[in-house]
């Protein structure tokens, strides 16, 4: 699992881990907790071009549907098939095995620090 304090965040409750020009994207423990048990994840295929702020996937729990927004512009290099096969990974390990997408991007928008995100969600 990635150390949450080392990640960047969006107001849409996504975390972003940047390694070179590839951003790994997932949703936060707070978002996973809010959704409840995740039972279905729909992700864009590798090669898909995504635009910051647009809906690129869905995360469904027993009770509700969450939309996944692309936090950056770029091209999907990998979608996490393990999460598609075992959606409960989003709940059990949101910052680790529950990651969703790897996106190749040339620039990052302004993102929140861990402290800023924790303030946003009132923790």
């Amino acid at each position: 699992m990635t150390e949450p304090s080392a990640l960047q965040y969006t107001e849409e409750h996504e975390w972003i881990d940047v390694d070179g020009d590839v951003a790994t994207i997932g949703i936060t423990d707070y978002a996973a907790e809010k959704l409840g048990d995740v039972v279905y994840v729909d992700l864009p295929a590798a090669g898909t071009t995504v635009t910051e702020g647009t809906v690129v996937g869905e995360i469904e729990s027993t009770k509700s549907v969450g939309e996944l927004f692309a936090p950056v512009n770029g091209e999907v290099v990998e979608a996490n098939q393990a999460v598609v096969d075992s959606p409960e990974l989003v709940n059990s390990d949101p910052f680790g095995d529950g990651w969703l997408l790897k996106v190749r991007t040339s620039s990052l928008p302004k993102l929140l620090t861990h402290d800023e995100y924790r303030t946003l969600v009132g923790e």
Binding site: G36, Y40, F69
Partner: protein, 396 residues
């Protein structure tokens, strides 16, 4: 990522002006997440919707339903008043019996669905949905005006705990502190009363000396019990059931309650039932006792019948894991020229069955069992078959 609104953590909701269950402190200590339900802050889950759902199907689950309304009618005409006020023939049930019924509007629409307990020759308790409790109390008062009966809304003075699942009976029998209300009043009498208690029956008992109505009723598709008692006793009872049951008793929130009742094919007011729906549309025609003597509110409209093309409630089962949800449209085909034939009222990926299930109002001409319909899941059409609820039925 935008989780839908509706669930809040205790921290986030602390400032909200909402009604709290008498078990609120117990739930907060247990780390529950809360949801606003009909103006109440109630547990939506304690840890996992799915774990709670499965617990009810395999061991047992404990629910706080203290938000529900309890309206009591007392008087020589209580039975006659209910025969006039409700769709069913409540005078026909015995003391100790319960009956599912409907409160209809003059036009035949459903104001609420109810469980009515006959607790004495001249005494009934009407259990209403939380969202409708005040309306039901008002309607019962005005409909009972010409009868010799007193109608009182006891909702604030009654807590409700449900213990549901295959282990519910054993746990209830093992839990110390129960007796029957009346002469004798010891644990052996309580055990005998539980052994003799049939489905949709209730008896007056005591828990640690205080009255509790023990009913074999529920809303999960499992065997189980609903326990009505004073709010200040609810915490003790909750803790005692948990201590006795250990891992066999899992506290359950409203999220699992919803998937459990959906699998069991039970309608939820606000989803399947509303003022715009007639009982026959919802498959509840049998609940309306047209054969009973005398007038009742809604009789004229029900006898007049309804339009032949009025939508009817069906069950839908699909493959895969992608669930259609309430308000999603139903089509008669998968192509661009398909015609919309209905709307989903409840839908989820069934935790027990592992595939999507839904209830929907559809045109009568596409409502036959086996018919293939298509569910529009945010732009994608998924094939589904019309099936007859319940989706899940426990082994007898």
């Amino acid at each position: 990522m935008t989780p839908e609104p509706g669930t809040t953590t205790p921290e986030a909701s602390a400032a909200a002006v909402e009604r709290l269950s008498p078990l609120d402190a117990v739930h907060r200590a247990a780390g529950a997440s809360f949801t606003d339900f009909a103006g109440w802050q109630m547990p939506v889950r304690y840890s996992s919707d799915l774990a709670e759902h499965h617990a009810v199907r395999t061991t047992s689950g404990l629910f706080d339903l203290s938000h529900m309304g309890e309206i009591v009618l007392i008087g020589p005409d209580a039975a006659a008043a209910l025969d006039y006020a409700l769709a069913g023939k409540l005078s026909a049930i015995e003391v100790g019996q319960a009956k599912y019924s409907l409160l209809l509007a003059e036009d035949g629409g459903i104001i609420d669905d109810l469980v009515v307990y006959r607790t004495g020759d001249d005494r009934y308790m009407v259990v209403a949905n939380a969202s409708n409790a005040a309306v039901v109390a008002d309607e019962l008062r005005s409909r009972a005006a010409g009868f010799d009966t007193i109608v009182s809304d006891e909702s604030d003075d009654v807590a409700l705990i449900a213990l549901q699942g295959p282990d519910a009976r054993a746990v209830l029998l093992e839990t110390p502190g129960f007796g029957v209300d009346g002469p004798g009043n010891d644990a052996d009498d309580f055990d005998a009363a539980i052994e003799a208690l049939k489905y949709y029956r209730a008896f007056p008992a005591t828990f640690e000396g205080e009255p509790v109505l023990v009913a074999r009723t529920g809303y999960t598709g499992e065997d189980g019990f609903e326990l009505y008692l004073a709010p200040d006793r609810a915490g003790r009872l909750w803790e005692s059931l948990r201590e006795t049951g250990g891992s066999r008793v899992v506290p359950c929130g409203l999220a699992s309650r919803d998937t459990l009742r959906l699998e069991a094919g039970m309608p939820l007011y606000g989803n399947e039932l509303s003022r715009d729906i007639r009982p026959a549309q919802a498959g509840l025609g049998r609940v309306v006792a047209l054969a009973k003597d005398g007038d009742f509110v809604g009789r004229e409209a029900i006898e007049a019948g309804q339009a032949a093309d009025a939508p009817v409630l069906v069950g839908l089962a699909a493959e895969g894991r992608r669930a259609a949800r309430a308000h999603y449209d139903v089509y008669d085909g998968g192509g661009a020229d398909a015609v919309k034939v209905g709307v989903i009222t409840s839908g989820a990926l069934s935790p027990t069955l592992g595939h999507p299930v839904a209830m929907a109002y559809v045109s009568p001409e596409v409502s036959e069992v086996g018919r293939e319909l298509f569910l529009d899941i945010r732009g994608t059409r998924i094939a589904a078959s019309v099936v007859k609820p319940p989706f899940y039925k426990r082994d007898a």
